[in-house]
C-alpha cells in the first residue's frame, strides 16, 4: 500500500484503458478495411491518411447523435444496459499479462494489472456477467425484435460458455494452475496447441459464439431481427455496444493466445522487452482469422446453433477432458 504501489496501479490501469480503447477503435477500423478487401471493395480510406482517422470521425459522429429513448422503455435499465455489457469486457483485461515482469525504478513490475492466481476463472466469470448487459438492454427496449434477439443472444452465450469452460479445464490440467502467467510458463517447451488441437478448435468456435460474431451473429444480424438487442439504441449507447463487442473480441483472442499459442514466448531467443510485441503479433493473427471467418462463412440458424453447441461441441469438449486427463495421469506416474 505504499506510494510506489499506488503509482504502479494507477499507471497500469490508465495504460490498460488506453490500450483497450485505442485497440478497439483500430480493430473495428481494420475489420472494415479487411472485410472490404475480401468483398472486392475498398472500405473507408478518405478520412486521414489511408482512412486511419476514421474511428475518430465515427466517435465524433456517434457522440453528437440524438439519444432516443422509447416512451414505454424501462428508463433505468435502458440507460444502464450498455454499461453492464461494457464493464466486464474491459475488466477482463486487468488479468491478462502481456509479458514477463520487468524491473523499473527498482521495483519489479508484472505486466498485468492484478496478480490473480485464478485469472482464467475470473475471465469466465466476467463473461457470465456480460450476458446481463444483453438481455437487460433487450428487455428495457420494450421491443419484440429486441427481446427475441436478446434472449437468443444470451441463450447462445450461456450455451457456448460451457464448451469454453470445459476446454479451459483441459488446459488447466496440462498447466497445473489457474494463473495465466503459469499457463504461459508451462508452454516454455511446446505451445499447448500441439497438445490440444481439438481444444483449440473448440475454444475458437466457442469464443466466436460467445462474442456474437459470424457465423453465430444471428441475434444481431441486420437481415434477421433488425439489429437484435441493440435495436433501440442510438448514438453513444450504440457505440458502447460496439465497443464491448470488439473488446470481447480482443479478450478472447488474448486468452486463446495465452492458453494455446504460448503467450509471449517465441522459439528464438528474445529480449524481455520484446515479449509484449510477440504477444500482440499473435493476438493480431487470431483477430485476422476471426475477421476472415466473418467474411467467409454464412450464419447459423438459431436452432442449428443451439444444436451444434449442445450436441456436438459439448460432448467433444467432455471427450477432450477425458482424454487429456488420461494422458496426464498416465504420463505423470513416477
Amino acid at each position: 500500500m505504499t506510494l510506489g504501489w499506488w503509482i504502479e496501479v494507477v499507471v497500469k490501469v490508465g495504460l490498460m484503458f488506453f490500450i483497450v480503447l485505442t485497440g478497439v477503435a483500430y480493430v473495428s477500423f481494420a475489420e472494415r478495411r479487411i472485410l472490404a478487401h475480401m468483398q472486392s471493395r475498398i472500405g473507408p480510406n478518405r478520412v486521414g491518411p489511408q482512412g486511419l482517422l476514421q474511428p475518430a470521425a465515427d466517435a465524433l459522429k456517434l457522440m453528437t447523435k440524438e439519444t432516443i429513448i422509447p416512451a414505454a422503455a424501462d428508463k433505468i435499465l435502458f440507460l444502464f444496459g450498455p454499461v453492464f455489457a461494457l464493464i466486464p469486457a474491459i475488466v477482463a483485461f486487468s488479468v491478462i499479462p502481456f509479458g514477463e515482469s520487468i524491473t523499473l525504478f527498482g521495483r519489479e513490475i508484472a505486466l498485468h494489472v492484478t496478480d490473480v492466481n485464478i485469472a482464467v476463472l475470473f475471465i469466465l466469470a466476467l463473461s457470465s456477467i456480460g450476458v446481463y448487459g444483453i438481455f437487460l438492454s433487450a428487455w428495457a427496449s420494450n421491443n419484440k425484435f429486441a427481446l427475441i434477439g436478446g434472449l437468443r443472444s444470451s441463450a447462445q452465450m450461456i450455451s457456448y460458455e460451457l464448451t469454453m469452460g470445459l476446454v479451459i479445464v483441459a488446459i488447466v490440467m496440462l498447466a497445473g494452475s489457474f494463473s495465466l502467467v503459469d499457463i504461459v510458463h508451462a508452454q516454455a517447451k511446446v505451445p499447448f496447441i500441439l497438445y490440444q488441437p481439438l481444444g483449440f478448435v473448440l475454444f475458437i468456435i466457442g469464443s466466436l459464439a460467445e462474442i456474437n460474431r459470424t457465423p453465430f451473429d444471428l441475434p444481431e444480424a441486420e437481415t434477421e431481427l433488425v439489429a437484435g438487442f441493440h435495436t433501440e439504441y442510438t448514438g453513444m449507447r450504440f457505440a458502447i455496444f460496439a465497443l464491448s463487442e470488439y473488446a470481447n473480441l480482443m479478450t478472447v483472442t488474448s486468452l486463446a493466445t495465452l492458453m494455446f499459442l504460448g503467450g509471449w514466448l517465441v522459439p528464438w531467443p528474445s529480449p524481455a522487452w520484446m515479449y509484449p510485441l510477440w504477444f500482440a503479433i499473435k493476438v493480431l493473427i487470431l483477430i485476422f482469422f476471426m475477421m476472415w471467418t466473418r467474411g467467409t462463412l454464412p450464419r447459423f440458424r438459431f436452432d442449428q446453433l443451439m444444436l451444434f453447441g449442445w450436441k456436438v461441441l459439448l460432448p467433444l469438449a467432455l471427450a477432450n477432458i477425458v482424454i487429456t486427463g488420461l494422458v496426464v495421469a498416465l504420463l505423470e506416474r513416477p
Binding site: I76, L77, I118, L121, A125, S128, I129, W139, D303
Partner: protein, 178 residues
C-alpha cells in the same frame, strides 16, 4: 484498511438485501440480489477463498440469477404485478417479526463474540490445491452425489415445464422453431 473495505461491502450487501425485500418490481429486486452476490463474492476474496468467490460469480450471479430474471421476464410479459403491498405490513406482525430478527442478531453476536475466534494471521486455507485435495479425497462421495443431483435437477426441470406430447415438441424453448 481492511475494516473499511469490509464495512463498505457489508453496507452494500445489506442495502442490496433490503432492495430485494422492499422493491415492488421483481426485476429490480433480482438485480439487487445480483448486487448482493457480487458484494459477497468480494467478501469471499477478503476471506481467502478466491476459488469460491469466482464460483459464486459464475454460478450464482452468472447462472442462477440469469435464470431468475428470464423467468421474471417471461411471467411479467403476461402478468402485471397488481397492487401488492410493497414491503412490510404494519401492526403487530411487523413488530414481532422485527423484534425476533433483532433478538436473533444479538444472540448470534454474543455467541460468536464469546467464541473468541481470531482471524488467522496467515493466508488462510483457501488455496485451490488444498480445496481440490479435500474435494477429491475426503469428500469424494458427496462430490459424485452432487453430480447425480445436478443430473436429476436437469431432468426434473425439463419434465416439469413440458407442455404436452412427448419428445422435443413438448418444450417451450424449441416450439417457436418448428
Amino acid at each position: 484498511m481492511e475494516l473499511v473495505g469490509f464495512l463498505l461491502l457489508a453496507g452494500a450487501t445489506i442495502a442490496g438485501a433490503m432492495g430485494v425485500v422492499l422493491q415492488r418490481n421483481a426485476l429490480y429486486g433480482a438485480l439487487s440480489l445480483v448486487g448482493v452476490f457480487v458484494a459477497t463474492a468480494v467478501l469471499y476474496l477478503m476471506l481467502s477463498a478466491p476459488f469460491l468467490a469466482v464460483l459464486q460469480l459464475i454460478v450464482y450471479a452468472g447462472a442462477i440469477m440469469v435464470l431468475f430474471i428470464f423467468v421474471i421476464m417471461l411471467i411479467s410479459v403476461r402478468y402485471e404485478e397488481s397492487g401488492e403491498a410493497a414491503g412490510v405490513p404494519g401492526g403487530a406482525k411487523r413488530y414481532t417479526a422485527m423484534g425476533l430478527a433483532a433478538v436473533l442478531v444479538i444472540l448470534f453476536t454474543i455467541l460468536s463474540f464469546k467464541m473468541a475466534l481470531t482471524p488467522s494471521g496467515s493466508e488462510g486455507p483457501g488455496s485451490i490445491t488444498e480445496l481440490g485435495f479435500a474435494l477429491y479425497q475426503k469428500y469424494m462421495f458427496p462430490f459424485e452425489v452432487a453430480s447425480i443431483l445436478l443430473l436429476v435437477a436437469i431432468v426434473g426441470a425439463l419434465s416439469i415445464t413440458r407442455r404436452h406430447g412427448r419428445g422435443l415438441e413438448g418444450n417451450v424453448a424449441l416450439e417457436e422453431h418448428h
